[in-house]
């Protein structure tokens, strides 16, 4: 009873929901990015490294004197570039998407740390920048612009996928590339384009961490968020709307455990609370995604003239 009233208190506070939206933002962006890649048939396990690179590059640009939005663009461009590497290896060359993705993650992560240390060899306490400030829209909880952008992008990605010829083409190459080619589409170009665009979105997720959520770049700051996005795509059955829902759900669990940790006052080990969002996510995945209909050509390299 006591426990329930604590939870109720938490759920009814505006601060809680403000935190939920903030926590959800990188998951929304990362999941959207992964979703775009996978809809075109390419698994992008480079997400963790691309997010790290986005976080570092965006922050570094601002630290070097660029304004915040330029930092966001720099992050997206760096993400797109790393995405292009992943696409070049997996699409025209048809290498294993798993192995390539893990390689891209290792490269993106190490490269970010390397560049950071190269520019700031001396820093013991991480230098900071002036991040995005919350912006109160009428009727909304105050959030930074990147959060609003993330939510807007859900609608944009959904519209593009379901209402435009290019979206249909992306879905087609993810379902049956041979059919797409027989309809005169350039499978290679469409897949590369989707991976590059998706990777740019992932990098935005990283940039949110250094330009909005925090004001500095730390090692390990992405901290597995990319892997959660991979699971959220499955949870969402590859649909943008459901991806938003999944990211919010995960953020609710995460925000809740933080507050329960404080409320429990050290009675329970804090690791138990840390586990909670992951356990609940696995449960949700089991319940929701068992019969998800995945893009049929996901992870299958397409080579022209081979069928």
């Amino acid at each position: 009873m006591d426990f329930l009233s604590i939870i109720l208190d938490i759920l009814l506070s505006a601060a809680f929901w403000t935190a939920v939206l903030r926590i959800a933002t990188p998951y929304v962006l990362g999941t959207l990015g992964e979703l775009v890649c996978e809809r075109a048939g390419v698994l992008n396990l480079g997400i963790e490294g691309i997010m790290t690179l986005g976080a570092m590059a965006g922050w570094m640009a601002v630290y070097q004197g660029a304004d915040l939005w330029t930092g966001v663009l720099v992050a997206a461009a760096c993400g797109a570039l790393l995405g292009l590497l992943h696409a070049a290896l997996t699409v025209p060359l048809g290498l294993s998407q798993h192995v390539t993705g893990i390689g891209v993650t290792l490269l993106g992560t190490s490269l970010s740390y390397f560049v950071y240390r190269l520019v700031l060899p001396q820093a013991s306490t991480p230098p900071t920048i002036e991040p995005f400030q919350p912006l109160a829209l009428p009727g909304a909880l105050a959030q930074t612009p990147l959060t609003y952008l993330a939510f807007l992008l859900v609608a944009v990605v959904a519209y593009v996928l379901y209402r435009t010829p290019v979206g249909l083409a992306v879905r087609m190459v993810g379902e049956n590339p041979a059919a797409a080619e027989a309809q005169g589409l350039n499978v290679t170009a469409i897949r590369i384009g989707a991976v590059v665009a998706g990777s740019a979105l992932m990098a935005l997720a990283g940039a949110f961490l250094t330009l909005s959520a925090f004001n500095a770049f730390f090692f390990n700051m992405v901290n597995g968020r990319g892997w959660i996005c991979i699971a959220l795509v499955v949870f969402a059955s590859w649909r943008p709307g459901k991806a938003l829902l999944g990211a919010l759900l995960f953020a609710v669990f995460d925000a809740l455990q933080l507050r329960l940790q404080q409320a429990s006052g050290g009675v329970l080990p804090y690791q138990l609370f840390l586990m909670m969002p992951y356990l609940l996510s696995i449960l949700a995945l089991v319940l929701v995604a068992r019969r998800a209909s995945y893009p049929r050509a996901l992870m299958i390299p397409y080579r022209k003239g081979e069928r």
Partner: protein
């Protein structure tokens, strides 16, 4: 090469001197063809004769090493399906190129609009599709998911896809391979409507009766070469068969034998599918010694489940499976092999052989634990190789030797290898799933005669095939699978192809006419 038609309607397509090489294989050897408006050209040839390669070159999937293509008087740039589409060439592939998770309209409209429009014009696409559908009598549901359609419906979607792109030349690759005889007749009606509208059609086939049912001209390919072009009306089956194979082929004829005791009995066997209709639904079936029982049916009506059941891969939910009179409680594949079941799997590449392993390894794959092939957990490689050499010789497997890698063998030789593994031990029951799929006429008659030899030696054969001619040629009794159920056994001499076709489409009321005495049972 002489063209039988002089003058007449305009030439819409001209292939000149097309050659294509895959490694050492000359798939197309200097092929020239012409096609006229309103003409149906049948491209006849055995598997591997180069028909599909030629059409893939025409549609831009492959680039020819030599030769040129001219469509409507203009040269066609090689290697671009888009160029082919723009020149008015549409292709219906043997394996449909449709995305199951997308709607019919999506499948048809994809790629027809400029990619950078900010909004798809679905309304216009829908109107155009429904208009075409009405004009050619091709019924479709634009919003249905392709995955929910029957094979016949999917083929209509493929044809509409080509028409939607204003195709004036339609290529159909083995269009009837997956259809019931009635659906095939429907397809041929459609083709006539199309040619009446001035379209030209090329259809690829290795079935003689279709050539005569639907084509105006027939071009015969053999081993990559165009060996003849005839007006269909001026030739006959025997002549075409000889052209196709290069020699005359006599199909083996089963000698009448009286069936012996039962080797396989299924009583009320049901296998659930996890969702929806069960895969097998109360199936009763008996196969006796000296008997070939043929299972006809459109694929996906329970044949795969039946084959997996008899191989021991799945178990019945309810009902009983007996082999040689004893009930099998917990069958697994190894147990089934020990009980005398031998199988020729449906897909020799995925379920029959391990391509990366040697011929001898594949040959002992089912019995490597026998004392003959292993001792104290160590393989007796010498014994296995000797055994392999014997099987290779006995079953005429053309390969460099027991150590050859299996994936280097041709389809026919792979099937002989499986046949050797299956038959070498004198099995009691042979499960033959699509035993001749993709084989040429020579290999087909070899497989058939071997199966009939096994039958004469006392084995029961359960023959699952989508090829009705094969079933009627081999089987003593036929049953038709539909929605997981089997008809009673029908003696092969009392049922016709068209009756089988109706049964395959679910019209079981005609059983009354075929088996008047068992009406009460059904």
């Amino acid at each position: 090469m002489s063209s039988p038609v002089k003058g007449g309607p305009e030439v819409v397509l001209r292939l000149a001197g097309i050659s294509k090489r895959f490694g050492p294989l000359l798939a197309n050897d200097d092929i020239s063809l012409t096609l006229r408006a309103g003409e149906v050209l049948a491209l006849l040839g055995e598997n591997g004769a180069g028909k599909t390669t030629l059409m893939n070159i025409l549609f831009g999937h492959y680039v020819a090493d030599e030769g040129t293509i001219e469509a409507f008087g203009r040269p066609l740039p090689p290697g671009s399906p888009r160029a082919a589409l723009e020149a008015g060439i549409g292709m219906v592939h043997q394996h449909f190129t449709l995305a199951d998770n997308l709607s019919v309209l999506d499948n048809i409209a994809v790629g027809t609009e400029s990619l950078w429009r900010w909004r798809s014009d679905r309304g216009a696409a829908r109107r155009r599709l429904l208009d075409l559908s009405q004009r050619f009598g091709l019924e479709v549901r634009p919003d249905a998911l392709v995955g929910d359609l029957s094979v016949g419906e999917r083929q209509r979607v493929e044809i509409l896809k080509a028409l939607y792109r204003d195709a004036r030349i339609l290529i159909l690759d083995e269009p009837t391979a997956v259809l019931t005889p009635q659906e095939s007749a429907g397809l041929f009606d459609t083709l006539r409507k199309l040619t009446a509208d001035g379209l030209a059609v090329v259809f690829i086939s290795h079935k003689m009766n279709e050539v005569f049912a639907a084509s105006d001209t027939v071009a015969v390919l053999r081993a990559g070469k165009l060996v003849a072009t005839h007006a269909t009306a001026s030739t006959d089956r025997a002549r075409l068969a000889e052209l196709m194979v290069g020699r005359s082929v006599k199909p083996p004829a089963p000698t009448p034998l009286s069936p012996g005791e039962p080797v396989l009995e299924l009583a009320g066997v049901t296998v659930a599918s996890g969702h929806g209709r069960p895969l097998l639904d109360g199936v009763d079936l008996t196969v006796r010694r000296h008997q070939v029982v043929g299972i006809a049916g459109v694929s996906g009506n329970g044949q795969t489940a039946l084959a997996e059941l008899v191989s021991g891969l799945i178990r019945p939910e309810s009902g009983r499976l007996s082999l040689k009179g004893s009930v099998v409680e917990h069958g697994d594949p190894a147990d089934m092999v020990r009980r005398g079941v031998a199988r020729i799997p449906e897909d020799r590449h995925s379920a029959g052989l391990v391509g990366a392993m040697a011929v001898w390894e594949n040959l002992i794959a089912e019995r490597y634990h026998d004392a003959a092939f292993s001792r104290f957990g160590v393989l007796r490689r010498g014994a296995a190789r000797t055994y392999a050499r014997k099987v290779i010789e006995e079953f005429d497997v053309r390969c460099p030797g027991p150590d050859a890698r299996t994936q280097l063998l041709s389809g026919g030789n792979m099937q002989k290898l499986i046949l050797g593994r299956t038959l070498a031990h004198g099995p009691d029951l042979i499960l033959a799933s699509q035993p001749t799929r993709g084989l040429d006429i020579g290999a087909v008659s070899y497989v058939h005669s071997r199966l009939l030899d096994a039958r004469a030696a006392g084995a029961g054969v359960l023959l699952i095939s989508e090829d009705l001619d094969e079933i009627l040629a081999l089987a003593d009794c036929v049953t038709v699978a539909y929605h997981g159920r089997l008809t009673p056994l029908l003696p092969h001499d009392r049922v016709s192809v068209s009756q089988l076709g109706l049964l395959m489409a679910g019209h079981w009321d005609i059983l009354r006419d075929i088996l008047p005495e068992t009406v009460h049972a059904a």
